[in-house]
């Protein structure tokens, strides 16, 4: 028997409360004159009997409740090692993260795991798991040793990121499913970067005993290409700007050479000086690429002790800008001027704005446009309105701006919405009071507080999501759901008359983000980290067929998965080719998490703590991990609950009796 939190026994002092209530509390009855106390015994009896233990059973139950609670919080346990030995599950957890590719770390981990496997007792069950950013079961719990031996021997390091919190979570789940104790042997390089921010994430149930088997003891100098910044799509006719960041995990400065290889050809090379433990950013300007997808990599030479992280892949696509349609009233040229200028000034380059008046609109085929802007269009032909709805429901993006034309007509041209009676402007201006910064159109933007809105058209927002409100609560910008597409409504105009937004610095990024959002530019980056998930289908085509070719040229999705266009995880480093409906192909590069390149071993004290101190029992005391301990807090809590219920019933009876007496 023992206690894991003995300081909670101080709660037993609370037992004094019911004892005081029952035994020692003096009745504050008013004094009452009596002829003589001669016949009242002057010894303790008569008065002590008044203070006697009233309702002994009630007192006992109350004391029992408090004592059981205090004991439960003190977490008593009893050693059940002998009884539980036969039920013990030995879990062999091998780290197969990217850093285990360095040298012979993986081989050492396998060898150590096999050694532990051979030492397990005959009656014990053994399970093998591999962990990195996720935990995979390599063998089921079994008394057979051969499946575990084969699983260990076949295990190779992957490209995932090590995460001890994920391992701890898996061990907790195993412990929950196991009745007996769990002995976990962890074979890992104990990367410092794999430790969670909070030690609490490492907590294990009391039935789990953890034993760490580090395969390395010391830090290893390493240099890596930490990041490559390349736009996923290139529209400009000039060259491609590639920015590479090289990180040093060494205490010594180093001189390295950085190469940029595009489509198998060396297109750039530069000598760099790396400070000790620092970073260096290098920029390359690649010549204008041809149209289509391009694969490249940035490589660091000469190779160091961990050559697998000396290169970083990237991919981009050279595309033509897409058309965007800007519809306006014939008399309104100002809105077009401001919007076009802002879009061109943004440097986005992905869209080419085409303008037309409302009367010219019916002749346009909307499917060819990335998005459509209806700038204060008072009326739209019915046929074009149907085309617009179909366009949005099919995945298109539309921005509707409301201005004087709409106010004059009393109803928005499209989508139809009645203008409120009080919407025809205010003599004084209003400002933005509330913005949904989580929305892509408004994220990372400057202050809108200085923008003055003189005319805001108030229409029915319906079930739309309001993204911005003015100081009087009137919605300024909201998004309406319309099929697979995106429909934004801006309750003012871009003509610099209804407001002075076009004159403010926030206008350009606002237009840029709205265009990118409506045009679908925010979908797929060109470079991702191993372990991330990627949607096979493009926005608005969910449910349509898409095919994914992995780094090894294999198809990653089954026929059913490909038909549904579902998301898939990037499990390995390399290039992924996504072939979507309509013949469009997207290339995405996956790289290991750069934190895996930091081969620093977790500090000794941290490791010692996690191992449970020098003798292996310290952490067990802290985390409640012990050899086959059975905690008794649950039955104690149950006892407290039962006693509390009994006390309630009994006290109720006494109170009823007292009430009857009174």
């Amino acid at each position: 028997m023992g206690l894991l939190a003995p300081w909670f026994l101080a709660g037993l002092l609370a037992l004094a409360l019911p004892v005081w209530l029952h035994l020692l509390r003096r009745r504050q009855a008013p004094p009452r004159e009596f002829a003589s106390l001669m016949l009242f015994e002057p010894r303790q009896e008569s008065s002590v009997r008044q203070r006697r233990l009233r309702y002994l059973l009630l007192l006992a139950l109350r004391c029992l409740v408090l004592a059981a609670l205090a004991l439960a919080f003190a977490r008593p346990y009893r050693q059940t090692a002998a009884a539980a030995a036969a039920d013990r599950l030995v879990v062999l957890a091998l780290d197969d993260s990217f850093s285990m590719k360095q040298g012979d770390r993986m081989a050492r981990a396998r060898k150590a795991a096999l050694g532990v496997l051979e030492r397990t007792a005959a009656g014990e069950r053994v399970q093998v798991i591999a962990f990195s950013s996720t935990v995979r079961e390599l063998s089921r719990p079994s008394r057979e040793r051969e499946p575990a031996r084969a699983a260990i021997a076949a295990l190779q390091a992957g490209e995932g990121r090590n995460c001890f919190a994920e391992l701890a979570r898996a061990l907790r789940l195993i412990a929950e499913s196991e009745r007996g104790p769990v002995q976990a042997h962890v074979f890992t390089d104990l990367q410092k970067s794999a430790m969670p921010a909070s030690f609490r994430d490492l907590e294990l149930p009391s039935s789990v005993r953890l034993e760490l088997h580090p395969v390395v003891r010391e830090n290893l100098d390493n240099w890596t290409v930490e990041a490559v910044d390349v736009p996923s799509a290139v529209y400009a006719s000039q060259g491609v700007r590639v920015q590479a960041t090289v990180a040093s995990f060494s205490s010594q400065p180093a001189r390295k050479r950085l190469h940029v290889i595009l489509d198998g050809r060396l297109v750039g090379s530069r000598e760099i000086e790396l400070p000790a433990g620092g970073r260096t950013t290098v920029e390359f300007l690649l010549p204008e690429p041809s149209h289509g997808a391009h694969r490249g990599e940035v490589r660091l030479e000469p190779p160091d002790g961990f050559s697998e992280d000396d290169r970083r892949l990237f991919a981009f696509e050279r595309r033509d800008p897409r058309q965007a349609l800007f519809l306006h009233e014939a008399r309104d040229r100002r809105s077009l001027l401001y919007f076009r200028t802002a879009l061109e000034a943004s440097g986005l380059g992905a869209f080419r704005l085409e303008s037309a008046t409302a009367e010219e609109a019916p002749g346009r085929r909307l499917a060819q446009y990335a998005f459509v802007v209806l700038s204060d269009v008072g009326s739209v032909p019915e046929e074009f309105a149907r085309a617009l709805r179909h366009y949005v429901e099919s995945g298109g993006g539309v921005l509707v701006a409301l201005g004087s034309a709409v106010a004059a007509r009393g109803q928005a041209g499209w989508p139809a919405g009645r203008v409120a009676a009080n919407a025809d402007g205010h003599e004084s201006y209003r400002t933005v009071a509330d913005m949904d910064r989580a929305h892509p159109c408004l994220a990372e933007q400057g202050l809108w507080e200085g923008v003055r809105f003189y005319r805001v058209i108030q229409t029915e927002t319906g079930a739309g999501r309001v993204l911005a409100r003015l100081s009087d609560g009137v919605p300024l910008l909201w998004e309406e759901t319309a099929g697979a597409g995106r429909l934004l409504v801006f309750a003012s105009a871009f003509d610099n008359l209804a407001n002075d937004l076009p004159l403010h610095a926030v206008f350009v990024p606002f237009v840029e983000r709205v265009a990118a959002y409506l045009g679908g530019l925010d979908e797929t980056p060109g470079s991702l980290t191993v372990g991330a998930s990627l949607s096979a289908a493009a926005r608005g085509t969910r449910g349509m067929a898409a095919e994914v070719i992995g780094p090894g040229g294999d198809r990653l999705l089954s026929l059913e998965e490909a038909a549904s266009g579902r998301s898939f995880p990037l499990g390995r480093a390399g290039y992924y080719e996504i072939r979507r409906a309509g013949g469009r192909t997207l290339t995405v590069a996956a790289n290991p998490d750069p934190r895996e390149s930091d081969l620093s071993v977790a500090p000794a004290e941290m490791v010692t703590w996690w191992r449970g101190g020098e003798g292996g029992d310290g952490r067990a005391e802290i985390l409640g991990i012990g050899p086959a301990r059975r905690e008794l807090w649950q039955p104690l809590l149950a006892l407290a609950l039962v006693a509390a219920l009994a006390e309630s019933l009994l006290a109720g009876r006494y109170l009823t009796r007292l009430g009857g007496t009174a």
Partner: protein
């Protein structure tokens, strides 16, 4: 009907002890077949032959005329009896759980006895005491004695502690002839000590009657909850549980009463326990009946 008026609570509404006494005594006398013997009496008892030295006033000359023999005519209670009441006016006598406390009841009782004695032309006296002798009215059968006694009773108020030694010493000093000594008290003292203190009076040839006056709550206390009791004489405080009062105290008071009764009887004293809730005339009737039967 009369009995209803003699309830102690009803007596308390009558102003003037003389009226109270008269009401009580006339009431119970009316219910008796024969007047009680309480000292002198005008009722014939027997004839006795004259012997030299006898008072010639009591010779029945009618008998002498017919028989030429001298006989003395004897009446009941011929022995020149004097009634002396020792009234305990200690603080404990001021206790009462209802309208009439023990001292009031004792006053009614004493007044009734005085009225009875005066009606029979007995001498009557009073000693009021607590731990000292507070008031004394010497026994006398003179005219106006009853008024003096009743005034003394009116003046009696609950005082301090009880001390039986001093009033009995005083009594012994002034006891000149045999008589009846009535002690009205709640007798909160050890029974042996009480009897030992009073026994000399008995040795002088006087009869000693103890009226033990107790409130019903002193005999059968009922507390719903624990109470903090304060001794009326000593000021001592004590918390008392209802269970204790219901069980042990009752057995103790019963034992005290039984012991006092036993020791008094052994010492030749008469002992009567009277509850203040009991009608006074009924208590007196019982007492006189018992005395008459014994005589």
């Amino acid at each position: 009907m009369l009995a209803r008026f003699l309830d102690p609570a009803v007596l308390a509404t009558i102003s003037g002890l003389d009226l109270v006494a008269k009401t009580v005594v006339e009431g119970f006398i009316a219910g008796l077949h024969r007047s009680p013997d309480f000292g002198f009496s005008q009722e014939f008892a027997e004839y006795r032959a004259y012997t030299p030295g006898d008072d010639l006033r009591y010779v029945d000359w009618n008998v002498f005329a017919r028989t030429e023999r001298c006989y003395l005519k004897r009446y009941r209670g011929e022995t020149n009896t004097a009634l002396t009441v020792l009234l305990d006016a200690s603080a404990s006598m001021g206790f009462g759980s209802h309208r009439v406390n023990k001292l009031d009841y004792a006053r009614y009782l004493a007044a009734s006895l005085f009225y009875l004695a005066t009606r029979q032309r007995d001498a009557a006296g009073l000693i009021v005491f607590d731990d000292e002798v507070r008031d004394v009215v010497a026994p006398s059968s003179r005219h106006g004695q009853l008024s003096r006694l009743l005034h003394a009773l009116e003046r009696a108020a609950a005082g301090r502690r009880t001390d039986y030694a001093r009033p009995f010493l005083h009594l012994l000093d002034h006891l000149r002839r045999r008589g009846i000594v009535v002690v009205i008290s709640d007798f909160y003292a050890p029974a042996a000590e009480i009897v030992r203190t009073m026994a000399p009076v008995r040795f002088r040839g006087s009869e000693l009657v103890l009226f033990h006056v107790l409130d019903p709550e002193e005999l059968r206390p009922e507390f719903a909850q624990p109470v903090l009791l304060v001794d009326a004489e000593t000021g001592q405080r004590m918390e008392v549980a209802p269970e204790y009062a219901r069980r042990e105290y009752r057995s103790r008071i019963e034992a005290h009463v039984a012991e006092l009764c036993g020791r008094a009887t052994e010492a030749g004293m008469d002992y009567f326990l009277i509850e203040t809730a009991r009608p006074l005339d009924a208590a007196l009737r019982e007492y006189l009946s018992v005395r008459e039967g014994r005589m």
